[in-house]
């Protein structure tokens, strides 16, 4: 089955192209079927390939499929190929599996919307680009997928384009991530020009051989790649686009802005970990960015009233955990958390979508309340997702993955201990903010009018994801609870091993922090609560530390000012003169076009007379 790997990204692409070509001609049912089935087939194929891969791994755990030679210029050769190794295998399974569940959810969620076919065309396009990103064996294809997911994100954030605010949010997401993309592109150029290859594995090998640890060139390259990762994964300082991106449809938020695209940065750093190991400064920065982002996002999530924005900040925060893990060298813990996060965050977003679709798209948690009895399906899904997000000990997937990260940080020396502390505070905040949402939304006074029932296309993804959010963590269990190492064994050939931690102190403390956060949330929000007062502190965190305000002042306004000042400078006046002269001459010349035949005849005659006169006289 392995040789059909190229079909995995191609199937969603075919679905996307079919939907685009059939735009406006396909019935809603057919469009949804094409959209979901194309990803579903890709998922079946991916799982079949995975089964083959696990039972009968190829040599070196790497399956390389070269599709064609892209270019061969000046010593730089780029083959277009796919590379399946444990890292891309995990990503591929997450993307196709979670992606299919979200597609299935969306077929019902988006029913009756204008542009139903367009939605699935773009969603399929996104999945195809994301699969290309993770399966690419060279930087060029990776960058193609990288930009492709950016495009898909842009198109889907602005899906409801009739509201200009949504278009603005889409533009903001595109431009902010573009800053990171530019850094990534420069980094890729640097790597290619110095190492002479676009192939990722070769480039990493050459880098290890030719660049000493801590060399400026390696550090620069690592920082540039980090820039790209930071932009795509909404980490400090390019995090401002993610909360605004929540104006897109909820399945989009679940797929793109929680489960897959925003984790592309994590994947990129894991994929190029050899380079980051050569640049300790960059690696430390990854950890610091992760720690700072998870704290900032955790505090900000506590000051949000919009259910989707709470989840957006929690996504930012959880990706901060993954960055933290990468920064302390707990590579497989980062991947583990990426996977479990995809399960429980998709679950949270989908159940939030399931709630809002019954409340006429009301997203303010203070206008909900008492929904536990009225929407049991959504309640249990959201509760399981929240428990996993808050890392409720032992019974949730999030616990095991977060525990792996924090153990890794604990073992990471002084800087690791500081980051561990940040992680523990973050775990406390996570429990607090997500259960604040749970208590406000599902308990207390009943608000809002609930109507309608869920079909199987809503409940099935919720059920499957709930199971995964509970049991998905059991593939990697710390020594104290039985020591299962399925994932780290799988990833061992491609990622460096993590130090084994047998000390259970960090585990206990982290569990305690999470439980404390949940308990505190119960204490404050069990009883019905009022909307929080707009104190300056609340406003500060509501605006997520005021980065939007800062960037607006420091970047946007000066650029706008410069554009306005330069809009009619003296160079323009030169062209204005040309335009003015053209107009003036036109005004005079058009008098000769008076439409009279005799006048034209006279002109002809005058011309002939002049010409003959020249011929005769000269």
């Amino acid at each position: 089955m392995r040789e059909f790997l190229w079909l995995v990204p191609l199937l969603p692409l075919i679905g996307s192209v079919t939907l685009m070509l059939g735009a406006g001609r396909l019935t809603m049912r057919l469009a949804g079927t094409i959209g979901a089935v194309s990803v579903g087939l890709a998922a079946i194929l991916a799982f079949t390939i995975a089964a083959g891969f696990l039972t009968n791994p190829p040599a070196g755990s790497v399956y390389q499929q070269t599709l064609w030679h892209w270019l061969n210029v000046g010593g730089v050769s780029a083959t277009f190929g796919l590379r399946l190794d444990p890292l891309s295998l995990v990503m591929m399974l997450v993307i196709t599996g979670v992606g299919f569940l979200i597609h299935l959810f969306a077929t019902e969620y988006m029913e009756g919307e204008d542009g139903y076919g367009r939605f699935f065309a773009h969603l399929n396009l996104f999945v195809a680009a994301m699969l290309l990103l993770v399966l690419a064996d060279n930087f060029l294809a990776l960058y193609t997928g990288w930009e492709g997911v950016g495009l898909g994100s842009y198109l889907l954030i602005g899906f409801w384009w009739r509201d200009p605010a949504n278009g603005l949010a889409a533009r903001k997401a595109f431009i902010v991530t573009r800053i990171g993309d530019t850094a990534l592109f420069l980094g890729l150029l640097l790597i290619t020009s110095h190492l002479g290859t676009l192939n990722i594995a070769d480039a990493m090998q050459h880098a290890t051989q030719s660049w000493p640890i801590g060399s400026p060139i390696a550090t620069l390259a690592a920082f540039l790649l980090l820039g790209g990762a930071v932009g795509k994964s909404a980490q400090l300082p390019l995090q401002t686009w993610l909360p605004d991106a929540m104006v897109g449809p909820t399945p989009v938020s679940a797929l793109i802005h929680a489960a897959t695209m925003v984790t592309a940065g994590v994947y990129l750093i894991a994929r190029t970990h050899a380079l980051f190991l050569l640049a300790p400064a960059a690696l430390l920065t990854v950890g610091i960015i992760g720690g700072a982002t998870l704290l900032l996002a955790g505090f900000s999530a506590l000051a949000q009233n919009d259910i989707k924005r709470i989840l957006a900040y929690s996504t930012m925060s959880q990706i901060g955990y993954m960055f933290l893990a990468l920064g302390v060298g707990a590579w497989d813990a980062a991947l583990f958390h990426l996977m479990t996060h995809a399960f429980f965050k998709a679950l949270l977003f989908l159940s939030a979508g399931a709630i809002t679709m019954r409340l006429h798209h009301e997203q303010d948690i203070f206008k909900m309340g008492g929904l536990a009895r009225r929407l049991p399906v959504a309640f249990w899904s959201f509760l399981i997702g929240s428990a996993a997000l808050a890392a409720l000990p032992l019974v949730t997937a999030g616990f095991y993955s977060k525990e792996a990260i924090l153990s890794g940080a604990w073992a990471g020396g002084t800087s690791g201990r500081v980051l561990w502390l940040a992680g523990v505070v973050g775990a406390f905040m996570t429990g607090l903010y997500i259960f604040r949402a749970v208590f406000i939304v599902f308990f207390g006074e009943e608000h809002g009018h609930v109507s309608g029932r869920y079909g199987w296309r809503i409940t099935t993804p919720l059920a499957v994801l709930s199971v995964l959010a509970v049991l998905g963590g059991l593939i990697e269990v710390p020594p104290v609870f039985g020591h299962v190492t399925l994932l780290s064994n799988l990833l061992a050939p491609v990622l460096p091993a993590t130090k084994e931690v047998t000390d259970i102190t960090p585990l206990l403390l982290a569990s305690l922090a999470a439980l404390l956060g949940i308990a505190l949330a119960a204490l404050f929000y069990w009883r019905p609560t009022q909307r929080p007062a707009e104190t300056p502190l609340w406003r500060f965190w509501h605006a997520a530390g005021g980065f939007d305000w800062l960037y607006n002042r420091v970047l946007v306004r000066p650029v706008l000012w410069a554009a306005r000042v330069n809009s009619d400078d003296f160079i323009d006046s030169f062209y204005d003169v040309i335009a003015w002269a053209t107009k003036a001459i036109h005004q005079q010349v058009r008098r000769t076009q008076n439409g009279r035949v005799r006048w034209y005849t006279a002109g002809l005659a005058i011309g002939s007379v002049s010409l003959i006169a020249i011929a005769v006289l000269l």
């Binding site: 076009q593 008076n594 009279r596 005849t601 006279a602």
Partner: protein
């Protein structure tokens, strides 16, 4: 009979051509403009005949026949157009048809 100085023949053609041109430029009635155009075409024909006579070759007369053909075609289409224009513009005023002015 054939001792006509050919410069005089060409002079005649030039004068007739200029008179035809004057007619086209002066008259505002499309019918008169068409008649003046016939004069100009005829003058061209005279020039061809004169040139043919100069070298005693048939080519001049052949070109005259082509001019004649052209004149016949031009007059038939031109008069049909005048019939159409007459409905909009009974006085056949050439200056009134200036919808193409800039």
């Amino acid at each position: 009979m054939a001792n006509v100085p050919l410069d005089q023949g060409l002079l005649l053609a030039a004068i007739l051509f200029a008179l035809g041109l004057t007619g086209v430029l002066v008259r505002r009635n499309l019918l008169f403009m068409l008649m003046s155009l016939e004069v100009m075409l005829n003058a061209a024909g005279i020039a061809f005949i004169v040139a043919g006579a100069r070298w005693a070759a048939p080519d001049g007369q052949i070109m005259f026949i082509f001019v004649l053909t052209f004149a016949a075609a031009e007059v038939s289409v031109g008069l049909a157009l005048i019939l159409l224009i007459h409905r909009q513009n009974p006085m056949l005023d050439a200056d009134a048809g200036d919808r193409l002015r800039g």
